[in-house]
């Protein structure tokens, strides 16, 4: 009985069932495969989160994003005139999260690679690119650099999926891929 002391005073001396041994071996092999899959994907997979990130400050990051937007804005959108920025292929692109928008709107070219820098200037936010479904945690004070290659054309939304206050559900951004 599991609610009584084991029959052997030293429980280590209790016998083991054959199927337990078999199951432990099978399960351990599967656990090792689960582990090995991660380094394997770093080598052979095409979707890995970069290890590149920097300490930053809201002021510094905002300055970088504004500078990029000034240089490459092609038009504005929506009632609040959000700039749509078409950065050069291969360049450093800045995306800023704040309550409650992703700024600016980006216009990228299909199958071209960009260095996307993302940070928050206030609270924590969640970068959730839909419908392709890429999800990243964005922290104030940390600048995450992701090298991305959009391989689908179309209009993509950036949903905020980290709760960031009462307007959280209105926080949307946009990326066009042409």
């Amino acid at each position: 009985m599991s609610i009584m002391p084991p029959a052997q005073k030293i429980w280590w001396k209790e016998p083991i069932h054959g199927i337990e041994i078999m199951w432990i071996i099978i399960a351990l092999i599967w656990c090792l495969i689960l582990f090995l899959w991660m380094p394997y994907w770093h080598v052979y997979g095409k979707q890995n989160l970069s290890n590149e990130s920097y300490k930053t400050s809201p002021e510094l990051f905002e300055a970088k994003a504004t500078k990029m937007a000034k240089a490459h804005t092609v038009r504005t959108e929506s009632k609040s005139n959000i700039p749509v920025v078409h950065p050069p292929v291969g360049s450093d692109v800045y995306l800023l999260g704040r309550m409650w928008q992703w700024w600016p709107i980006l216009e990228l070219e299909k199958n071209k690679t960009y260095r996307l820098h993302i940070s928050s200037v206030d609270w924590q936010h969640g970068f959730s690119l839909q419908p392709t479904n890429i999800n990243l945690q964005i922290l104030p004070g940390y600048e995450m650099v992701v090298t991305i290659t959009p391989d689908q054309a179309g209009e993509f939304a950036i949903v905020c999926n980290e709760y960031c206050g009462v307007g959280h559900h209105t926080m949307l951004g946009k990326i066009y891929v042409k």
Binding site: I10, H17, A27, Q47, E77, N135, V159, N161, G165, L172
Partner: protein, 576 residues
């Protein structure tokens, strides 16, 4: 004349010490109070996330969600776990509890702390969710309440350890502690680690909230907070796995297949779970892949291995016990002939299956470094932890309550038909909720979000129609689960108040933590707890073939589901 402090339950043969019994009752009742509060707010959350009802306004929704998460994930489970600790030490070892007076101080701190947190929530300025990520601020009393609650729980853990020492010294049992107590011991050790982590981060956060510290780094906060946030769920796992073993013993007289395997599996929890909270940081900046990969898996996923072992040995020990009783035909007669109408068993078995097949598999899949990219912070995550906490832990606690109400509280269960159906209604509702949250999350729907149609947003976006439909079905599941949860609360409270007294001393006050009449306690010192009888199992004995087949089905599901998600990952934008 020595004071008689023990009573023996004539139905179960268990011994209850007057002081420990009162502490158990008080903690369990408070747990159910928070289950009720958390459940009501859960219903409001479910009805708001159903796009067709969309019940609450945004501000109230975030407040309700903060209360739902905290009341269930912290207050309900930890109050109940404290009751489990007193039971596993004092009752199972037939021992007086260490320092019961200090136990009451711990209890009062927990009550006070949880009340402060609830007040902070209801004042409306602390809707920061269960996670309270900085720099989003809550009121100081929110952090203070959590700290007081944690100190109270810590006291309970040390009293548990003290009781083990007394039992050893006073030789109340022979040999080693029972497996269930051993499992509770792992829960207590993990709890101490967890609470220490909580203190390390919440004390500075409290100082920050009153302006004494200027800045708390959000990444440092997340790293240490998750050593509290996830490890606390590991207390639940250790506790509810112990309860699975306890129920197997109580209902079937089952002994562990082998003590060595089950106990080693519990030890693996202690050794390999703690930093593994790293899987919450897989999509974070500022931490390298090497750290993430190693700390989620320790290269071998030995904590996952531990759960896979319990997943075999718990049903396995039931199968062995049933086969010995003669249910020996085919692979599954032992399971077919199990007492499915007894909520103690049905609740436990549904808890086991849903925890393993859904909670376990989804947890490991989304805890894989790269696969996390398609799951992080989507509503898949609540899908996962409703399988682990709402079904795994909560339903196991409900199941053992059906045993404890007659045995500990000495009240007959009211409404037997409802008792029989409650685990199925709650389980079915939760299953619906879980499966469709997982589905909607796979399609990218965010968690903790008031309006996935973005009607007030400056920009527009439409999720796939399927995703919205799935949210609606999940909400229906949530409503059904709330019915099941409400039935449990009604049965529990109703039995404590109106249930037939099984002991003349079981007064109304005694249902809520006061001792029963002095005449109920007739034993001065229980007889020494002897060793379990030696049984012929293992090589040459009865084997658990049916369970092994179930385990292989589980493994196949796991493998297929893992590679489906790997395939899905390969379809998103290339990134490095």
């Amino acid at each position: 004349m020595a004071v008689k402090m023990f009573r023996q339950c004539p139905d179960s043969g268990l011994f209850f010490h007057k002081s420990a019994e009162s502490l158990m009752k008080a903690h369990a009742v408070l747990g159910v109070v928070y289950l009720l509060i958390g459940g009501i707010f859960g219903l409001l959350v479910a009805a708001t996330r159903m796009p067709t009802i969309h019940l609450l306004d945004a501000e109230t929704f975030y407040l309700a969600l903060s209360i739902h998460g905290t009341a269930i994930l912290i207050f309900w489970v930890i109050f109940f776990e404290m009751a489990v600790l007193y039971f596993a030490a004092s009752t199972l070892l037939r021992c007086r509890p260490a320092t019961p007076g200090i136990g009451w101080i711990g209890f009062i701190l927990m009550v006070l702390g949880s009340l402060l947190v609830m007040v902070a929530f209801l004042r409306g300025n602390s809707s920061v969710m269960f996670t309270s990520y900085v720099p989003m601020p809550a009121e100081p009393i929110f952090y203070l309440g959590l700290i007081l609650f944690a100190v109270g729980a810590l006291i309970g853990c040390f009293i548990f350890l003290g009781t083990l020492v007394i039992a050893k010294q006073e030789k109340t049992y022979d040999g080693s502690i029972p497996l269930v107590t051993f499992g509770a011991l792992t829960a207590a050790i993990i709890a101490i680690f967890t609470i220490a982590s909580g203190a390390i981060i919440l004390i500075p956060t409290l100082l920050w909230s009153v302006g004494l510290i200027s800045h708390i780094d959000p990444l440092v906060y997340r790293t240490i907070w998750w050593a509290l946030g996830h490890s606390s769920q590991q207390i639940n796992v250790s506790a509810h796995v112990s309860i699975w073993y306890a129920i197997a013993a109580i209902v079937f007289g089952a002994k562990p297949m082998s003590e060595k395997v089950s106990r080693t599996a519990f030890l693996l929890y202690i050794l390999f779970l703690q930093l593994a909270s790293a899987h919450h940081l897989l999509a974070d900046p500022g931490i390298g892949s090497g750290w993430k990969v190693f700390n989620t898996s320790y290269a071998m996923y030995l904590a996952v291995l531990a759960s896979m072992i319990h997943g075999l040995t718990v049903p396995g020990c039931i199968e062995v016990a049933q086969r010995k009783k003669g249910f020996n035909n085919g692979l599954f007669e032992w399971l077919q002939k199990a007492p499915w109408g007894n909520p103690v068993f049905s609740g436990m078995f549904i808890s086991l299956i849903v925890f393993g097949f859904i909670g376990g598999i989804t947890g490991v899949v989304m805890g894989t470094e790269q696969i996390n990219l398609i799951i992080h912070n989507t509503i898949f995550v609540p899908g996962h932890f409703h399988a682990t906490v709402a079904v795994g832990t909560t339903l196991a606690f409900m199941a053992i309550s059906y045993f404890l109400i007659p045995v500990l509280f000495r009240r007959e269960l009211i409404w037997p038909a409802a008792c029989k159906w409650q685990p199925y209604i709650f389980g079915a509702g939760m299953l619906l909720l879980i499966l469709f949250l997982l589905g909607a999350g796979t399609l990218g729907v965010p968690r903790r979000h008031w309006d996935v149609n973005f009607s007030d947003a400056a920009l527009q976006f439409q999720f796939a129609g399927t995703a919205i439909t799935m949210l609606g079905i999940a909400g229906l599941g949530g409503i059904l689960a709330s019915v099941g949860g409400a039935m449990f609360c009604l049965i529990a409270v109703g039995s404590l108040v109106f249930g037939k007294r099984l002991d003349p001393g079981a007064s109304l006050l005694s249902s809520f933590g006061f001792p029963m009449a002095d005449s109920s306690y007739t034993v001065e010192r229980p007889t020494k707890l002897g060793l379990a009888p030696i049984e012929q199992t293992g090589a040459g004995g009865v084997e658990a073939k049916g369970t092994f087949v179930l385990a292989l089905v589980f493994l196949a599901t796991f493998v297929v589901y893992f590679f489906i998600n790997a395939k899905y990952l390969s379809s998103i934008w290339p990134m490095s």
